[in-house]
Amino acid sequence: MELINNILYDTIYHSTPIILCVTGGMFAYKANVLNIALEGMMLNGAFISTLVMFFTGNLPLAVFLAILTTLVYGLVFSFMGITCKGNVIVVGLAINLIVPAIAGFVMKMMETANINLKNVNITKYKINIPLIKDIPIIGSILSGHPPITYLAFIGIAIFAVLMYKTRFGIYVRVVGENEDSARSIGIKTGFYKYAAVLIGAFCCALAGVNLSVERLGLYTNDMTAGRGFIAIAAIYCGQGEPVLSSLYAILFGVARSLAVNLSIYAGPAAGLFDIIPYIIMVAVLAAVSIVKHKNVKVRGFKC
């Protein structure tokens, strides 16, 4: 029972940053911009928020500056990739290099290898919902998480509405699907691409805050550990649909949580458990794809 609760709680834990990256990244995906810099942006969010917390202890300021600086990266990405028509993969990879370089540089100047928030008690951030928290299974899913975790899940719905029910969402999709047609009716395609990337930056910053300040109270230079790339994978799996992509993110959270929680029973084979999340993703993807294409008689990949 404890184990199940644990698995569920950790699922939410591990899903959150990925969901945030997914919901942020899918607008860029829909706008036909491959934002491979999710990883770097998330890292920046984590770094700046922890840094500001370290020096000021002021959480709102930390979150604000984390978002602001990540938006700057978003702007750089957009400017180089969209306005200057640079190769977005290269731009994204460059940002993924620059963020840890700057963070590493600052920490070197601070003569530390990671930033530890002694002034922060992360239990304080946890929202324990009365009554619900005592219900077995549901309690560990719904209660005891920090605010951004709740935001992330609420965000799925908000972004789904934004994507499908508002003009903004329609335009982003139009820009991605047929830039010519968008231009021919005078939609400022650049603006929507910028906006899509910046939404991504915003969410990634929150993901970073969640990962560092809220959950751990510390920052280390590769703490994002590839979560941004996993998010990209989830976005592709879900083809940028908010709910579907988020489900893939959660799937990953489940797999990861299972891997961590079950590995303590696995003895020497525990090392192999870490492979599970990735294999599950691939297997699910393959299964979905096979079902989807079972009737396709057209050859080639354009269908």
Binding site: E2, L3, N5, N6, Y9, D10, Y13, H14, M107, K108, M110, E111, T112, A113, N114, N116, K118, N121, I122, T123, L211, R215, L216, G217, L218, T220, N221, D222, M223, A225, S257, V260, N261, S263, I264, Y265, A270, G271, D274
Partner: protein
């Protein structure tokens, strides 16, 4: 960070002694193993007037060793486990130790510089080993002692330990990777737990994960979370930044963690029971001093730093002591535990207690630890 070097190190005109520290991947500011080595170098610079250089190699340790030796550094400390190029030579070239016979190389944490028969291979290579298994042993014994007396020692409102008879006699271990350098900690730790458990007539469960990596604190946090939820009251982390996640989780769960390398007790004050220190500044300073004094050739080519040397130990416990309840009973108990711990230290120093040292290839025998169930 940085040293005093001014970029003209290759002029070769200076007669001054130059030493270099080649860091491992954690980097010079790791608040641990590398950093203390740098502190040792600083101390040597201040007191002995040597020049020092700290290098964080990008293209591998061998390349850095070679370049430094080429540039006339006299003593080069290698904190990374990569010794093949130095001792054996790779790719058809001579060992670096042979290429630069006038340079003294120091291998920290391992003893690759001996033939199977125990004879030294290169005279200009010194190896420094820390008996961290002994410090871990103390940490293990301390954990049990503290847990068994937790209700007396700690104010109930600050901690939420699992009851001892409801699975609270559980201790976890999170290791970065499954290597001798890590298991040496775990083995000593288990033996220490076993010793104290035996003395108190109780039985402990032991969880261990040896592949948590060194960089993702979130992994440390979740693994520790799992342990704590399984009833563990202490988790010992030997996994770099992952350990920071463990410590953070300890605070979150209001339980205890044990950290490693440097005194990190103040990272989450009150929730880090102790840290197992590996004080690399001692060998760095000592060997540099020997070089400056000209006595380096008389030194043993294998330098071991046991518990008694002070280079490895647990911390002074000042942080945790502040968390102890202000009652007389608690204070008295604490003193009692301290006595117990000091006694163990003496016994180890005297050789009465022998702790398994995986670093030199000794095999750990779980069946000898009857009071610990390894899960």
């Amino acid at each position: 960070g940085g040293g005093k070097d001014d970029g003209r190190a290759d002029s070769g005109e200076k007669k001054d002694v130059k030493i270099a520290i080649v860091c491992d991947s954690a980097g010079q500011n790791d608040n641990g193993y590398n950093q203390t080595a740098v502190e040792g170098a600083k101390k040597a610079a201040d007191e002995l007037g040597v020049e020092y250089k700290v290098v964080e190699p990008e293209n591998g340790v061998p390349a850095a060793l070679e370049t430094l030796a080429e540039d006339g550094y006299n003593v080069i400390f290698n904190l990374e486990y990569d010794f093949d190029a130095l001792i054996k030579g790779v790719g058809g070239s001579e060992p670096i130790a042979v290429m630069y016979p006038d340079t003294t190389f120091v291998c920290v944490n391992d003893n690759p510089n001996q033939y199977d028969d125990g004879n030294v291979i290169h005279d200009n290579v010194i190896c420094a080993l820390f008996d961290v298994h002994e410090a871990s042993y103390i940490a293990g014994a301390l954990s049990v002692q503290v847990l068994e007396n937790k209700d007396i020692l700690f104010p109930a409102e600050n901690y939420s330990f699992t009851d001892l008879d409801k699975g609270g006699r559980t201790i976890g271990f999170v290791g970065g990777t499954n290597s001798n350098g890590i298991t040496v900690f775990s083995d000593g730790f288990i033996e220490g737990i076993n010793k104290a458990a035996e003395d108190l007539g109780v039985n402990y469960d032991y969880y261990a994960k040896y592949d948590a990596g060194f960089s993702d604190p979130a992994t440390g946090s979740t693994v520790a979370g799992t342990y704590y939820n399984q009833g563990a009251n202490v988790v010992y982390a030997v996994a770099g930044s992952v350990g920071d996640g463990v410590a953070s989780k300890a605070k979150e769960e209001k339980k205890l963690a044990i950290h490693v390398d440097a005194d990190k007790d103040d990272m989450q004050p009150g929730y880090i029971l102790t840290s197992v220190i590996k004080n690399t500044s001692v060998p760095v300073y000592d060997i540099t001093k020997a070089y400056v004094d000209g006595t380096i050739d008389d030194m043993d080519r294998l330098q071991t730093f046991p518990l008694a040397s002070g280079a490895t130990d647990i911390t002074e416990l000042t942080q945790i002591k502040q968390a102890i309840a202000d009652t007389d009973e608690a204070q008295a108990k604490w003193e009692e535990i301290m006595t117990y711990v000091d006694d163990l230290k003496t016994q180890i120093a005297d050789g009465k207690i022998k702790v398994t040292n995986a670093q030199i290839g000794e095999a750990f025998d779980p069946s000898a630890c009857k009071n610990v169930t390894i899960k």
